[in-house]
């Protein structure tokens, strides 16, 4: 009987005109290869987020969808939200 725990991003979604990248991290516990449980933790990346600590897969998606136009539009939106 071998219990294993795996943590991985099992869902990465690009949402909205601002190209928010929604990441779901799954923690999977298995016994002899049979999944016993799966729990989720989420966070969202925006075009100005620091992604240096993200997996390469996530960084690649961000690089693909965060064009200069998207970044500028997000910057403008953020500026409009400032008090």
């Amino acid at each position: 009987m071998a219990l294993t725990k795996e943590v991985k991003y099992d869902k990465i979604e690009v949402v909205g005109d601002s190209k928010h990248v929604q990441c779901r991290q799954a923690t999977i516990v298995s016994e002899d290869g049979v999944e016993l449980s799966r729990s989720f933790h989420r966070h969202v990346l925006h075009p100005d987020s620091d992604i240096s600590g993200e997996p390469q897969e996530v960084q690649d998606i961000c690089a693909a969808v965060w064009s200069d136009e998207v970044k500028q539009a997000w910057s403008d939106y953020r500026a409009a939200q400032q008090p």
Partner: protein, 170 residues
Amino acid sequence: MALTKVSSAGLNINAGLPFPATAVAVADANTLDDYEEGTWTGVVSDTSDPTNPMTMNASYTTGYYTKIGNLVTVTGQFITTSLGSATGAIKITGLPFTVFNNGAARVGGGAGYGGGFAITAGHSVNYWAINNTTYIQLYVWDVTTGVSEMQASEWTADGNTMIGFSYRAA
């Protein structure tokens, strides 16, 4: 899925109703197309650009979420141990899904608890989820016209609050 009976009385489900790992969005407003439970990390920060996050108490930075269709319900208690470099207006970042970008999706609520604040007795703290973002802005009911933005100086180093509300996901 353990679907044991379909009849005029409806579904009889004895082992839960699983949804696919990747939601299959359905435009029909009468169709439930997603369900998910999990956790998120809330961080109290100022609203400068880039933001200055406060130092969180590691035991009070995780909240729960449940998403049913496009409606996300979040809860959590968030406590800081230091203001760090935070100044000015403050917010709590890290909502698990982006707030839908439409004025009709605006939503807020009142803090269920407050501690470590430096506000006037009788005033209360509330919040507003900002469209097209993943944060809530904090406010204090302290002006004759309504609210003003809660300041880092009003939160203080050991600030502590509970939140719980539902919002429409993008």
